[in-house]
Symmetry: C2
Subunit: 490 residues, 2 copies
């Protein structure tokens, strides 16, 4: 039978209790749950990529639909890395296998290639009752975890990966929050500190706020293409020790816009990586190159998802994490903790499997898969270049090369008068800028203040995902707007 | 480009810092993350339905596969409400629409009925870039929230439901934890207390422990078919006030094994409900029947998911919650909070839509849908009856009628000697019983102690989901085991 579960504030219980005692109608108390009585940590959470500017963008879209006249015809959302929403097409093979898993009657359909059918059969055999509608184990479907481990092992040139160290997750965010949760302890000066890069992705600051941990900022060097200076990491760590217990170092690899701090850190060498899709320097591999003292001791958790790269399958919420050198007792606690949510979505798990176990040479879907993947990655590389080139022609905008992700974080020079007007309004100056941009052009970007930036500098973050023709229009509109804005406030 | 994000304990940072300063190899500190230094609340979390007994069951399954001889040939898992894993077939219409959403090329295939295609087109039109791989809004796809609101409105005989009050969730668990998180505040005597029924579903105790809230037990009356006595609710509330701030009352409706406390509470009347699938008394409707003072003031959050009832689609992690009378500022905080996880899985959202917007009379899929749904519900009703009947023939087992869910929670009488032996082993007596049952028969049940029970009473929880013939075998094996166990320890 169906269930409908309720959790509600006890004003009710209170009142009913009073009613029972006195047998008369009593006025109810005011709200049980108010901003004054709610979880204080939740109030501190900020999440810029879905913040006020995006809410306004959604409103403007509604107004446009209702026929309200605007100086533009559509809102271009470059606020979040949502590839399919920007017109990127899903990889055919992935969707074929997913359809087969969902509706296995299609396994009899000769329109589907044999390799897609084989993958689907294999996944279904690992599901309870051969249904993707069954709960999976909390750590994730066995064969998927094995495939992930094999993938990591290939990626790292044979360095072993143990399926027992793989946890499938609901997107990468879920895994990151889970690990931070495990690590959060202590009070006051012993409270867990979490080192994050500035600029950061706001998931980190939001989770740290929600958990009541301490956020420790280390600043990336914008002048050196957002690289990490060791002295800055050192400064940040030392400063943090005065008021908390720094226990976690978060790094985004490859850049977002963060580069390759770990490798440059121990070796004091630098190597550049170029825009090449999913290629990157694995931290785990670096640990193994540093020798057994490191590879057998350093605790490392790394995360990946189906949402980014050439896949862009955000809606499926597929992801994994690999934890190495985790204390076995803590790992048991981790497994227990993830079991409370029962399991990550099974379709997301299946999709993650396809990402790590894609068509191989000789299989019927191989050619199409390679072509589709190459097309997406070349388009991204082209758009990355386009973004950098056009933005750098604008006086007052400076944009580092977009090297390894789908985002750019250009710096903008704002006139003093604009900064003052924003401050008078109680707005961050780059929020003021982005809000005006949205109202006048329909372009939705996120102010740099939502990601963090050095005091006195201003940025915006934009994805490079809109289709090339639309991206060009957008960049040129942005150019025009910036010039007008600068004139207006000079 | 691809990203791989890492969060790792700072032993690394520590060491590297030392290395930089001294330019020599230093031994690494011990583990940063140990059971002594981890989040203390997480350690307190227990989750019986995926606890030690289930881990042992998984192990036994592996042993059987490896050819280890056992007194049984397979493990029968009746520990969790995982319908498809127990052989229940998915509803054809649901899976057809999901396959169409996943691989829209199938929209040209004339094997799929028109109503399935129309549903799929409508869902895809609400998705960014017409792809179920795009992020949805954090609150959930617009048209799905509208359909949920309409469904609730129909369910409650026209009492209005506002789509703005609907939040789609990753299964019901996600919504429940989110609401409890919002409500958790205060310290010591002002710490939020959460009233939960005993027996409970362990998600509640686990979430309360993780959030560091205070668990307040109210005991259901086993003698009266697990109904709720008002005096018990009163006792529980008053006792709780001595040490915390009781702010939330959690109720499971219909029974699991909880009955209909809300209705019986204000009205002091009782009405019986029978095994009828999804039919139940809506708390919201009751509030409206009580008049505007209640319907406009009492804060209520209710939850539903695709996992239970005739659907049994657990793996998709679809769910929704409706919040009524929530303070608008708090609601803004809720929306912000859910946005940190970006969105619930889009396939789960789509599936939720189909549940609330199933085939209608006259549509091509209607007949099949009704037949499939009826078959599942009749089978459940039959199995509920079977379970009660067989178990009640066993001296020392007493089983209430299974009325509104897929679980039963029979009471078992254990011999004094068995209780003592368990205690000597440091085990709960019903864990001792269930572990023996598993080792000797392959039947995996969950001890009552994982759900809570009155001191000195012992139970197990079993689902009634195994196929009828297997359920019969299981119940008879259970009977035999109980008799043997009782003899052995008498």
């Amino acid at each position: 039978g169906g269930q409908n579960r309720s959790a509600f504030p006890a004003a009710q219980g209170e009142h009913l209790h009073q009613k029972m005692s006195e047998n008369g109608a009593l006025p109810l108390r005011g709200k049980v749950l108010t901003v004054d009585t709610m979880n204080a940590n939740v109030k501190k959470v900020d999440y810029a990529v879905r913040g006020p500017i995006v809410q306004r963008a959604v409103q403007i879209e509604k107004e446009l639909k209702e026929g309200v006249k605007k100086p533009f015809e559509e809102v271009i959302k470059a606020n979040i890395g949502d590839a399919h929403a920007m017109g990127q097409r899903p990889i055919t093979f992935f969707r074929q296998v997913m359809a087969l898993c969902t509706y296995p009657q299609l396994l009899d359909d000769n329109k589907f290639p044999e390799d897609a059918k084989n993958r689907a059969r294999r996944i279904l055999q690992s599901c309870g009752g051969n249904s993707i509608g069954a709960y999976t184990t909390s750590q994730g479907i066995d064969c998927v975890r094995h495939d992930v481990a094999n993938y990591i092992q290939r990626r790292d040139g044979g360095i072993p990966s143990d399926p027992d160290n793989i946890y499938l997750t609901t997107g990468a965010s879920d895994g990151i929050v889970t690990i931070l949760k495990l690590l959060t302890a202590g009070e006051g000066r012993t409270r867990t500190g979490v080192m994050i890069s500035i600029p950061q992705y706001p998931l980190y600051s939001a989770s740290i706020a929600e958990l009541g941990a301490v956020q420790i900022n280390y600043y990336l060097n914008e002048e050196k293409c957002w690289s990490l200076d060791i002295s800055e990491l050192q400064r940040s760590l030392q400063a943090a020790r005065e008021h908390c217990d720094p226990r976690v170092l978060c790094i985004i690899n490859p850049g977002n816009p963060t580069g390759e701090p770990l490798r440059s850190f121990p070796y004091k060498t630098k190597s550049n990586y170029i825009y090449k899709g999913c290629e990157f320097h694995s931290f785990k591999k670096v640990l193994f190159e540093m020798g057994p003292e490191y590879s057998s001791k350093v605790e490392l958790a790394s995360f990946h998802s189906t949402s980014k790269c050439y896949m862009g399958e955000c809606g499926f919420r597929g992801g994994y994490m690999e934890v190495i050198n985790m204390d076995p007792e803590v790992k048991a606690q981790l497994t227990k903790l993830v079991s409370v949510r029962l399991c990550p979505p099974a379709p997301g798990q299946a999709l993650m499997d396809l990402v790590v176990n894609s068509p191989q040479p000789g299989e019927p879907s191989y050619q199409t898969f390679i072509k589709e993947r190459t097309d997406v990655l070349s388009a991204l590389a082209e758009k990355a270049k386009l973004t950098e080139e056009i933005l750098n022609t604008v006086p007052g905008i400076s944009c580092n090369p977009v090297q390894g992700a789908m985002y750019s974080f250009p710096r903008i020079t704002l006139p003093e008068r604009a900064i003052n007007e924003a401050k008078a309004k109680g707005q961050a100056p780059d929020m003021f800028y982005c809000m005006k941009l949205l109202e006048e052009t329909g372009i939705c970007l996120v102010p740099g203040s939502g990601f963090g930036q050095r005091e006195g500098t201003y940025h915006f973050r934009m994805t490079i995902l809109p289709p090339t023709d639309k991206l060009k229009i957008m960049l040129n509109k942005l150019k025009e707007f910036h010039q007008k804005f600068t004139q207006q406030y000079s």
